[in-house]
Symmetry: C2
Subunit: 428 residues, 2 copies
């Protein structure tokens, strides 16, 4: 049995719903589980990680991304949504091979680990390749094959989704969901098939919902309902649902999300960059809706750095609601950790540092000019820290990165191969 002892770090467990103050202590990890936290004598044979000048946090949880889109980072920016999709993103995506998806996902996993993410929720194509990248990189993920369809289209991808889930759902570090892309890319019939399959397989749903004004008004025109009302009436919310974006919501919609335990993946940077708008996050949190954070794909962000999303969530909604007290630092950190775990239905296993939970732990290096003085370490994490302050990352009890060096795989090879396939993808 492998045993690791993190010694003398600050510890912020995120297990408390009230403002927790970090205290110095030790964490014992046996195999993939946290077995002790606090002050204790350890006489066992353990691998010691010196935690001095660091703080141990639950690994960050990226609740919505499309990992392989790292290959399109910086390929097209500062454009209107439809020309961006139609002339730039979709034509390149149509050319993606399995090899592209694998290396693009590996690059994403590398970037996420380097900036403190230990779990991500992904929706894309060729998901076997994404699952292989998750397996090879040591990260944890909730994976869904993104599907669109109706009027005869989409039967293949439904079948593929089912096969994917059956193949990977019992793998270490992997959980699966069904991934209907959005209310406007799936017909009602098709969504009903997905709901039926979800119940049969006993899995949740990962969907884009209420992202743009256009989606809102198109669905309203077609059905007389908001996108959220329409999804409820179709029965989607009978399953556990992770709804990405939720920018355009009525007050009634917020009530529906709460009543049906729908979790929201808030993607502030992507919503700003694509000019989708600003989601009513303080109102969602006020009503008790679970809100996690996501980066969205690198093409609309353009990175997978969860420190930026926590930072942005804490800043943006203050000005937007003209109230500097909304989303205080501790709550932003909850959104990046335990609320993210709840959004993915994984809070029994991850999202906080507690005895019995999986050992997904990051150590943040506090010895940086921008993290002094340390009047309030939590405020420093949210308002001052950078992703590069993450020093060490342990996922499922394995030391995936130590002192910023990746131990789980060859990072230079990942950069080289991802760069190679990205160039290939750009050839006309």
């Amino acid at each position: 049995m492998s045993k690791i002892l993190i010694k003398d770090s600050y510890i912020l467990t995120m297990a408390s719903s009230t403002n927790e103050k970090p205290v110095i202590g030790d964490i014992l990890i046996e195999d993939n589980v946290i077995t002790k936290i606090g002050k204790f004598e350890c006489t066992e044979q353990v691998e010691i990680i010196d935690g001095k000048n660091t703080i141990a946090l639950p690994g960050l949880i990226n609740c919505h991304t499309h990992a392989a889109m790292t290959l399109l980072r910086g390929y097209a920016d500062d454009m209107e949504l439809m020309p961006w999709l139609e002339n730039k993103i979709w034509p390149r995506e149509a050319k993606l091979t399995e090899e592209h998806i694998y290396w693009g996902s590996m690059l994403a996993c590398l970037e996420m680990i380097k900036s403190g993410t230990t779990t991500f929720a992904d929706m894309y194509v060729s998901m076997n390749e994404v699952a292989k990248a998750v397996s090879d990189s040591g990260i944890r993920a909730s994976l869904s094959r993104g599907i669109t369809g109706g009027n005869g289209r989409g039967e293949d991808s439904l079948k593929e989704s089912k096969e994917f889930i059956e193949k990977w759902r019992n793998e270490e570090r992997i959980t699966c969901m069904l991934g209907p892309h959005a209310p406007y890319t799936c017909t009602d019939d098709y969504l009903e098939k997905i709901i039926k399959l979800g119940k049969e397989l006993n899995v949740g749903i990962h969907i884009h919902l209420a992202e743009t004004e256009t989606e809102f008004s198109d669905i309203e025109k077609r059905t007389g309902k908001t996108p959220v009302e329409h999804m409820k009436d179709l029965g989607l919310f009978e399953l556990p649902v992770l709804a990405a974006h939720c920018v355009h919501l009525t007050e009634g919609d917020i009530g529906i999300l709460k009543e049906n335990n729908v979790a929201v993946a808030h993607n502030p940077e992507s919503n700003l960059k694509l000019a989708s708008g600003i989601a009513p996050v303080p109102e969602l949190l006020e009503k008790g809706v679970i809100v996690g954070l996501g980066t969205d794909g690198a093409a609309s962000n353009n990175n997978l750095n969860m420190f930026e999303e926590m930072h942005m969530a804490a800043l943006l909604h203050k000005a937007n609601s003209k109230n500097p007290t909304v989303i205080p630092a501790y709550q932003a950190l909850e959104m990046g950790t335990i609320l993210g775990a709840k959004a993915l239905g994984l809070d029994q296993e991850i999202g906080s540092l507690e005895v019995g939970k999986k050992a997904d732990i990051i150590l943040l290096d506090l010895h940086k000019a921008h993290l002094y003085p340390s009047h309030d370490i939590v405020a420093n994490i949210i308002y001052s820290a950078q992703g590069s302050d993450v020093k060490t990352s342990i996922i499922n009890g394995n030391i995936v990165m130590k002192d910023r060096k990746i131990l789980a795989f060859d990072e230079e090879k990942v950069i080289l191969e991802a760069n190679r396939v990205a160039k290939e993808l750009m050839k006309d």
Copy 2:
């Protein structure tokens, strides 16, 4: 004469007003000046900096901060503005000694250099200490003693401002301005005295302007004018003016700023965090107003990382104006470099990489997972990079940081001393 050759880096000069593409080349620095850029043979005795896998950019220019407020980083957050100021910030500021200001400013200089800033515009008290920190750290700055007054108050600080300017204005790397705090903390009489002194000393003005709704409505109530109109009518704009914030502007105000060559220091993160609002930056730029970027003090940000401000400026205004094409990446980088130099009246010397300009150059390490692939290096700098990607910083021809190690001063000592005085400041 010292000679430095940066070899084989990408170079982005920011000398062009149209989208410039980075090209690989060399830069020769002789003493404190750039003497050659491009492809050339260099047979001279030079110190070579290997630029491979980096991009050379003009050093970033932080157009508005209060450096010593690093000591209050994380001391009070997520609060309403007036209780924050009255119960937290002002009581601690009242206890600041010269020693506090010096070490707080040194910590700020350290943090700024580490995140790519080579020039900052500061407004605070005990400015001799700030000037010493500028001198000791190797950074460049435009300094102003922040003053408030009227009804008999403020004569001392006027005198102090004058003495400060006369003492420091001819020092290497230092320029000076007068620093009336704001229209609501200086009476009209007092502002008129400041204008007179500014003309006598031939210096510009650094002022907070139109930051909050309260300021806007209070000035309107008192004078029947907007803050911008009121400042114009008092004659303030007869001097070169750097106006921080400018969140609350009418269309007429924007015209006045343009006609009078008033430069704006946009502080997006501070404006969000304090819930001041969102400045109409696309409209200002559209009208041709010079807009630079600033972090504001660390108490309301909470860091001095200009990569975050460029990133935020490029993201925020897209959603706010419902237009994803506003403030494209290249323009955000202009705001962080050449427009900042123009805002400080220093564009003859700094802000772009051109032969004859001062050698204020940063090298960004492009060999990072989050900066691959490199379809568009400028987009990667604005949307994906972190402050910690800055590898090397040259200011006024001196290598202040190389491979992230500070050469110009003892960074461990700065952290130690700043932390010590910050703790002292918190004692009741």
